[in-house]
C-alpha cells in the first residue's frame, strides 16, 4: 500500500508541529504569567470642575478667612496589583522641611488629615478637598493658621505660621502599604533611586483678619 504522506512531507509536518508547540506554549505562559509593566502611582490636585486651573478664588493666591477653595485630589494605581494607599495632608511654610524626592524621605511634619483607600489595578480615586482658613492670628510680623475647615470638618490647633502670611503650602504625600514589612512606606526603591509621589500647592494667608 502506498503511504499517504511522503517521508519528506512527514518531516515538514513534524517540524511544523514542533514549532507550533513552542509558539503555543509561549503564548500560554504569557497569558498565565503576564510580564510586569512599569509600576508606578500617579497623584494630582485639580481645581474646581476638575481642571488644572483656578485653584484660588478670583485666581488670587492671597487668601483670607472663610474663603472657600474647592480642590480634588486624584490618585491612580498603576502598580499592577491591589494597593493600600494613604494620602497624608500636611500644612507647611517655606522653612519647614518638605519631602525630598532625591532621598525619598517624607516631610517630618505631622499630617493634619489622612485619606485611606484600597485601589485595584488601574483604578483612579478622586477625593474632594474643600477647605478654608477659619481662623488665623497675627503677631510679631507673622501669621499663624489656627483654624481650618476641611471637607466640612473644623480643625483647630497651631498648624503653621509664616512671615507676614507668605508662602504657606499644602503638601500631599502618597504612602502605600509594603506587604513585606506590613508597614506604610513613602518611597519605593527603583534602579534609578527611590521613587516617591507627592505634590504641593502654595498659598499666602495675607488677607486674614
Amino acid at each position: 500500500m502506498r503511504p499517504r504522506i511522503s517521508p519528506r512531507d512527514l518531516k515538514y509536518v513534524i517540524a511544523f508541529a514542533l514549532v507550533m508547540t513552542i509558539i503555543c506554549s509561549g503564548a500560554a505562559l504569557r497569558t498565565l504569567y503576564p510580564p510586569p509593566d512599569e509600576q508606578y502611582f500617579e497623584m494630582w490636585v485639580l481645581g474646581p470642575g476638575g481642571f488644572a486651573q483656578h485653584y484660588y478664588p478670583h485666581d488670587d493666591s492671597n487668601l483670607g478667612t472663610d474663603e472657600a477653595l474647592n480642590w480634588t485630589l486624584g490618585v491612580q494605581n498603576q502598580m499592577g496589583n491591589l494597593e493600600y494607599v494613604v494620602v497624608e495632608v500636611k500644612l507647611l511654610n517655606s522653612t519647614l522641611s518638605g519631602p525630598i524626592a532625591s532621598t525619598g524621605s517624607p516631610s517630618s511634619v505631622q499630617p493634619i488629615l489622612k485619606f485611606t483607600q484600597v485601589l485595584v489595578e488601574n483604578e483612579t480615586w478622586s477625593v474632594p478637598f474643600e477647605w478654608m482658613i477659619v481662623n488665623a492670628t497675627r503677631g510679631n510680623g507673622s501669621v499663624s493658621i489656627t483654624g481650618l475647615s476641611i471637607n466640612g470638618a473644623q480643625l483647630n490647633g497651631q498648624f503653621a505660621n509664616a512671615n507676614s502670611g507668605y508662602n504657606f503650602r499644602f503638601v500631599f504625600e502618597l504612602w502605600f502599604l509594603d506587604p513585606s514589612s506590613n508597614a506604610l512606606v513613602f518611597s519605593q526603591p527603583t534602579t534609578v533611586g527611590p521613587r516617591s509621589v507627592w505634590t504641593q500647592i502654595w498659598f499666602n494667608a495675607t488677607s486674614v483678619a
Binding site: 500560554a28 496589583n81 483607600q117 502599604l177
Partner: protein
Amino acid sequence: MKTSLWLGLLIASLIMLCAAPHVLTQQSESIDVLSYRAFSGLATIYQQGGQSPELVAKLNQALGLIDEAHLKLLQGNDADATSLQGQANSILTGVLNQVPAAQQTAATERTWRTLTIVGLIPLAVLLSTLLFYASLRMWRRYEKSQLFEKRIIGVVHDETKD
C-alpha cells in the same frame, strides 16, 4: 481543704498564664493593623488572578470610617471616634472572616484557568498541524497537475515538430 485550695489557685493561675498573651495580643492589635491584615488577605486573591470587588468595597467602607474616626479624635470628639472605630472593627472582622473562602474560590478559579489554557495547547497544535498537512497535500496535488500539463504540452510540441 487547704491542699485543694492551693490546687485550685494553681490551676487558675495556669489558665490565666495561658490566656493572658492572647488577650494582650488582641488588645494591642490596633485597628490599622487589622485593616492591613484584611488588605493582605485580599491582595493574595488579586495576586492569584482572582477578584473580590464586594470585599474591597467593604474594606474601603471600613477605611473611610477609620479616617472619619481619626478626624473626630482631632476634633476632640472621643465618643464618636470610638463608635466609628467600633463600626470599622466589625466590618473588618467580617472581611477577615470571608477572606479564606474568597481565597479558596480564587485558587480554584486559577487552577481551572491554568488547566483550560494548558489543555488548549495540544488542541491548537493539532488543528494548526492538520491545516498545514491539508495545505501541503493540496500544494503537492497542484504541483503534480502542473507537471502533467507540462508533459502534455511537451508531447503536443513534439508532434507539431514532426
